[in-house]
Amino acid sequence: MTFADLVTIAPLVGAVAVTAVVLFVDLAWPGRRGPVLVTSLAGLAVVGLLTLVTGGTAATAFGGSYKVDDLTTFLDILFVGIVALTIAFGPDYLKPRGLPVAEFAIVLLFAMTGAMLIAASADLLVLFIGLELMVLPGYLLAGYHKSDGYSTEGAIKYFLLGSFSSAIFLFGLAFVWGLTGTTRIAGVAEDLAALTAGGSVSPGLAMGLAFMTTGVAFKIAAVPFHYWTPDAYQGSPTPVTGYLSVGPKVGAFALILRLFVEALGPLKADWLAVVVVLAVLTMTLGNLVALTQNNVKRMLAYSSIAHTGYMLVGLAAFAAGRIEGLEGLLYYGAAYSVMNLGAFACIAALQKRAGVTSNLDTFAGLIRREPILSILMTVFLLSLTGIPPLAGFFAKMYVILAAVQASQDGVTALGVLAVVAVLNAAAAAFYYLRVVVYMFMRESATEQPAQVHGRLLWSGLIVATILTVFLGFIPGLFEVVGAAARAIG
């Protein structure tokens, strides 16, 4: 280990250090929320700065098992943002239920460290360690509300299926290692290119590919590996659901970028068909089931499955030879994160009083009780629908653009995929707008007084709203995304 190595991994060291500091702060002032929140948010700002400072130059560390490029920087900033917003949204919900805030923040910071490790891994083992470090805190968070039966049930399902899929994934990695004899991503890619030069994929490689795909499909909740999602999302405390629907998902997509795009890049013609089928199934099923939900949290859980499908469209477009597909995927990840976190934050704010459900009835006549919250929720829902000029529209446009482009290169399946995607987007409008209908056009059955929300929650919501509204107008964001995609494509 050299000093240069330490500089390269500075953001990661920073993340671990912040976690440790927050732990000690909680020890020093047990039960106090203020110091924990201040240190964790300030710490996140430092980590973000470190990422930006060190991210300027591409570098590798520890003999090439860790690397920093434009993609790492982009994803790290995204993870920091996700965790910061989640921490901002948490206390309002946790406090009335007597759930500790410090552990919440610490566990989230650990998860972020794992996600950052994935984003920077140049070695399959580092990748796997990062993955486990990211998902284990997720299980804890899902069962965070110990006394709530649904929370426990969701957490157990999540844990069992999650561990199961990790094992399957690891099994697949073993096959690849067996065939190539190396765990370095660059080496794997080279060896695979040589192995498949004849155009045939050996049975062992095919099995490895199948196992890894299955494992990853579980993590991103792609149909038909999505069964854990609705229960885990509905049962978890709402701020946690918001985090689970974006953090581990974007993290898993980071893993896909490092593993499938980089290491298995030479095989992309082989996994293209799989991704296309997964994308169609995921979008369509997620949307169709979301149409029938009466619980908004569960509805958003299914809608997040559908969004996975749209992101897979970007991946498919890349596999069909269009770098724009990756750009679209990354842009989608960012847009989806802010708007989905925002939507869940609105639900969490409504549920501040313990006992308030997330059923549609809760939203009836909300405009009278909570006008600002309803308008913000509407913005997030419209963005999720994909109405311009909000972030969600640009995200959808980007992946569809890549798909259309690939179809004009002669890959007809992508053209079909683009049409399926837009038809799905139209169908999705129905269930998103239904919430708007309840908020604006129905009268509430029971009279409830307005609630007072914390300043931290409002600040987080304002940030999320500004990003949702203006993401498409940030000059240079398209270039940043393009640079990140070119780093691996």
Partner: protein, 556 residues
């Protein structure tokens, strides 16, 4: 050629107004909204004054503003105005302030949200007519959707949620496919230019390429045209994509109906002329026979179904389907007079139907009912109101000297030159148009004062000065354009020439009489099916039969 100018002002003054309305207390909402709408209107009038309408320049884009937005894909913020968009923008700004004024009294709940929605709606509509970048066009196109969704859904009638969701889903399916088509077109252009994105979304560049450059290959043209067609046909709406319209109109508040009929339907017609004819000329010709037959079906079907409507608003809504059929017909016969007629028809339909919806709103305000059968003898109770109503009903029926006549007449003359059969059938329908409007007028205006109206007593007041103020400009324009259609024709002449030059003039579409006959057969079947599903009692509209139950009701 660059920078922000008057077009941005016309587009975004309402947005600033919306922000101000949102930030200030609700009691200022009405005044500020009206002020913002009037300001946008005045700015649009400035456009007319500075517009050069000579034959050489009338078809060119003027006041062009161009700012690079997403250079990575050559997407620009580009606005410009030619004769066609100019008249439609002025129509939009005029109808918006009229609608806002007309909403002062009827809208009493959540006035702030209402005015904000209305002003944002204006931003979207104006933007659609001014955008010269395909991507920007799409964004404005979708912006229109949300406020209209809220206006129908929040301030609408009893069945408003069903109507508004239907409206959104119909429109969204069409527009999202259009987005795919826009992207595909941009790629085709980019691929043909060595991967350079410059100008790939720019309307002028694309048009240049489509008509004088290499042009788009036929498969792309057909697919892209199909997608654009779906989006525009749903908006117009053309038969058989019209079913959202009666629901939306009946449930929408009065001002919402005015804008819906007056401007939103025009977005489709404008889209056809501006985008599809110029970018996909070959596909336009391939699809033209289908569109002509569908237009004919819409003209006849709308009129026949309007004839049997028991509800005033529904009658006007179906008459829109019929009138808008003339618009699509006039566009797709590729003949200068017909296209000029189609544009005139758009303007005049916007004015007349807007006014008719306002008038229906006036009576609804007083009676809370729109059933034709319950009215009767209104001429005796509210003479001024009925006189104005009569004026606009005649205008809608195509009385010579008023604007409705000019549009339909020009369309028919142009169509006759290329497709005499089609013109003959369409001309016959003008009689039907007179029939349903005059019959309706006779039922509500004359005869004994119905028991229902008598029961209202002094609540049934005549039209108020403010209501007359909202109708006066529309009436004045209807007369002006009816007597001096030259005002409009000069403005749009250049645009018509350019559009037809792009699409290829003189290539008349000859439609086999057999096809027309087949279309008529479909209409007959559709009408029979539609009439058969109407509740039986509501069909016998007028006279003693319907006055009976109304008397009983008011007597109790």
């Amino acid at each position: 050629m660059t920078g922000v100018g008057i077009l941005s002002a016309v587009t975004f003054v309402p947005l600033i107004g919306a922000l101000v309305v949102a930030l200030l207390p609700a009691r200022y909402a009405r005044a500020i909204a009206l002020a913002a709408a009037l300001l946008a209107w005045l700015a649009s009038l400035l456009l007319v004054i500075g517009f050069v309408a000579t034959p050489q320049r009338g078809g060119l884009f003027q006041y062009v503003e161009e700012i690079s937005w997403i250079p990575l894909f050559g997407i620009e913020y580009k606005l410009g105005v030619d004769g066609l968009s100019l008249v439609l923008v002025v129509l939009t700004t005029t109808l918006t302030w009229v609608s806002i004024l007309a909403s002062f009294k009827p809208i009493q709940t959540r006035i702030k949200e209402y005015m904000v929605s209305f002003l944002i709606l204006e931003v979207g509509m104006t933007g659609v007519f001014l955008a010269l970048d395909a991507f920007l066009f799409y964004i404005f196109w979708e912006i229109v959707l949300v406020p209209m969704y809220l206006i129908i859904g929040i301030w609408g009638g009893t069945n408003r949620i069903y109507a508004t969701i239907k409206f959104v889903l119909y429109t969204l399916v069409g527009s999202l496919l259009m987005l795919v088509a826009i992207l595909a077109t941009a790629f085709a252009y980019q691929a043909a230019h060595g991967g350079s994105w410059a100008g790939a979304f720019d309307f002028e560049v694309l048009r240049q390429w489509a008509t004088q450059g290499g042009g788009f290959d036929s498969t792309l043209q057909l697919l892209a045209f199909a997608a654009f067609f779906l989006a525009f046909a749903i908006k117009v709406p053309m038969f058989p994509f019209h079913t959202w319209l009666p629901d939306a109109h009946v449930e929408a508040p009065t001002a919402g109906s005015v804008i819906l009929a007056g401007v939103l339907l025009k977005l489709g017609g404008y889209g056809f002329i501006r985008w599809t004819l110029s970018l996909y000329p070959d596909a336009s010709h391939t699809f033209a026979p289908v569109i002509i037959v569908l237009s004919l079906i819409a003209i006849i079907y709308g009129a026949v179904v309007a004839l049997v409507q028991p509800d005033l608003k529904k009658l006007v809504a179906y008459s829109s389907v019929s009138h808008m059929g003339f618009v699509t017909l006039g566009i797709f016969v590729f003949q200068p007079q017909a296209m000029a007629g189609a544009i005139l028809q758009m303007i005049s339909h916007g004015l007349i139907t807007g006014a008719l919806f306002l008038l229906v709103g006036v009576i609804y305000e007083r009676t809370h009912d729109r059933t034709i059968a319950k009215m009767g003898g209104l001429a005796a109770r509210t003479p001024v109101y009925m006189a104005i109503f009569g004026f606009f009903a005649f205008a809608s029926a195509g009385l010579p000297g008023l604007s409705g006549f000019v549009g339909e007449f020009l369309t028919l003359v142009g169509t006759f030159a290329t497709n005499p059969w089609v013109a003959a059938v369409a001309a016959f329908v003008m009689i039907l148009g007179a029939a349903y409007l005059l019959w309706m007028f006779q039922r509500i205006a004359f005869g004994e004062v119905s028991g229902f109206l008598a029961g209202l007593g002094h609540h049934l007041t005549d039209i108020s000065p403010v209501e007359i103020l909202t109708l006066a400009p529309l009436g004045a324009l209807v007369v002006a354009f009816g007597l001096f259609p030259g005002i409009l024709l000069t403005l749009i002449d250049g645009s018509v020439t350019v559009a037809l030059r792009d699409a290829g003039t003189g290539t008349a579409i000859a439609i086999d009489p057999l096809v027309v006959a087949l279309g008529l057969g479909i209409v007959a079947a559709a009408v029979v099916a539609r009439v058969a599903t109407l509740p039986f009692g509501s069909r016998s509209g007028t006279g003693a039969g319907a006055a009976g139950p109304a008397t009983a009701e008011s007597g109790s």
